[in-house]
């Protein structure tokens, strides 16, 4: 999609939400930035999409977006899946802002499940859609108690979970939504991004905002903030490793998706970040299967 501003639909306030609501959300965001990793309650609004489709992220984006912003929306690393396309269209229609699929051109990136491979910059803000903001949720069912545990920085329980992982699987088997400690204080859920992306959050130059619509929580990691993945001294944090490079663009050290090719066990591993993969292919990088891939995904055939 090209970065062409569409005219704003009539009958809506800029970016769908009314100004009072945006103000309330901005206050929550500011508080979140002031207390990195702390979950700020906010009065989440009904959005024209079901819970679980990014209502929290959309509200955060709506509160921070301006007419000059360029929006990119990704879902599982890809710009062309349903969730990404419809949210991008939603803002093109209600705010008339320019949209893009290219990470380098975007000023706001709303994301579900990934952080782009390309290093984000100080000029960018990344907005995460969060289903479950509470890292202690499945360890301690009482919300009153989890709040107390956060207040007292009583996080022994979090390590009990990791202990159980190692005792059952021989290694820490949590692969996504891997808990992190922000600025040496709050333990935070990074939303269901693969743990592969956790190191990107550490000292990121971009502002990171998290919105959970159903749970009515907003939290934030300001630029250049320490983000440490929890681990044990003798079982240090590790990211996923892949045996092969991307089959289309030959990138290594990126997060790969498995794509099933036929019903005879054929499969390939390609970049989950579709923009990054396209960019590399445009630069002339070729993976082992790019010759056979259809032209549509950048192959020769």
């Amino acid at each position: 999609m090209s970065a062409v501003a569409a005219p704003q639909a009539s009958g809506y306030n800029f970016a769908y939400l009314d100004e009072q609501t945006k103000r309330m959300i901005r206050r929550a965001i500011l508080k979140g930035i002031a207390i990195p990793g702390y979950q700020v309650p906010f009065s989440s609004r009904e959005m024209p999409m079901p819970y679980g489709w990014g209502t929290g992220g959309v509200q955060v984006t709506a509160a921070i977006i301006g007419p000059d912003d360029v929006l990119k929306v990704i879902d599982q690393g890809s710009d062309d899946t349903t969730n990404a396309v419809s949210i991008r269209k939603f803002f093109a229609k209600t705010a008339g802002v320019a949209t893009t699929t290219e990470t380098k051109d975007a000023t706001i990136i709303q994301t579900r499940h990934r952080i782009p491979e390309r290093q984000l910059t100080e000029k960018q803000t990344i907005v995460f859609q969060v289903p479950i903001p509470e890292p202690l949720r499945f360890l301690e069912p009482r919300e009153t108690e989890t709040r107390k545990l956060h207040a007292l920085a009583d996080y022994g329980l979090m390590h009990v979970k990791l202990y159980e992982d190692i005792s059952r699987h021989g290694h820490i088997a949590t692969t996504y939504d891997y808990p992190v400690e922000v600025a040496d204080r709050y333990v935070m859920n990074p939303s269901p991004t693969p743990k592969f992306d956790n190191p990107k959050m550490h000292m990121s130059p971009a502002l990171q905002l998290f919105g959970a619509g159903r749970e009515k929580r907003i939290y934030a990691v300001p630029p250049f903030t320490k983000v440490r993945s929890l681990d044990f001294e003798d079982h240090p944090f590790e990211v996923q490793k892949f045996d092969k490079p991307c089959a289309l663009c030959a990138a290594t050290n990126v997060y790969l998706d498995e794509v099933v090719l036929d019903d005879r066990g054929g499969r390939m591993f390609v970049c989950s970040d579709s923009d990054y993969c396209e960019e590399r292919r445009a630069d002339g990088h070729r993976g082992e299967l790019s010759g056979e891939a259809p032209h549509l995904v950048g192959g020769a055939a």
Binding site: G156, V160, D234
Partner: protein, 262 residues
Amino acid sequence: MMAKLNDKPLLSARNLGKHYGQRLGCRDVNFDLYEGEVLAVVGESGSGKSTLLSLLATELPPTAGAVNYRMRDGETRNLFDLTEAERRFLLRTDWGFVRQDARDGLRMGVSAGGNVGERLMAVGGRHYGRIRDTASDWLNRVEIEPERIDDLPKSFSGGMRQRLQIARNLVTHPRLVFMDEPTSSLDVSVQARLLDLIRGLVSELGLAVIIVTHDLAVARLLSHRIMVMRQGRVIETGLTDQVLDDPREAYTQLLVSSVLAA
């Protein structure tokens, strides 16, 4: 090996009382507890034993009185003046609480090793291997085979669960352990083994214990001193043997005589 004991009281209750609205929980409770001492609180149900235990463990705010506790740094403080953070820290380092129902004291969805290791991790243990070694050592001490370290407490018998609870509480070497009817849900032979184990650990570690029980046999076997409660008041205190062999109060006499071959 006996731990070195201090001659100042570890915990002392002063005019401690609790009303639930108009209804009396307990009142005017006064006692001193020294290190290495086991105090049994006995009485019929509804006599205020459990209320007293909850007050001492700071689970309930009192309506009157104070509980002074000598902290590890030697300073004596009123437990109800501590901040929430200090109280929680005390609860998971210096204290233990063994519940009547193991399900209240254990995490049933977490393996035995995780249950024992939780306190270690809560006080900053971040080395998996060492946490596991300590856990397996403690399982051994409470007579649970170390091979069962990765089993869930769900698969444990009632007696094993109680022993696991004890291991989980003692792993941080507390100085004071509260026990609320620790043996009453077990059958007689398992009770005897558990009592034996508790008695061994108490003398070995020099633990102070406040044990609430309605079973006078348990009180006789474990405790040095006894406190008899009735209708929210302490009606008789003294050395366990003395009180049980030669009860002064009419109610205590009734209690002692009602036990079958105690």
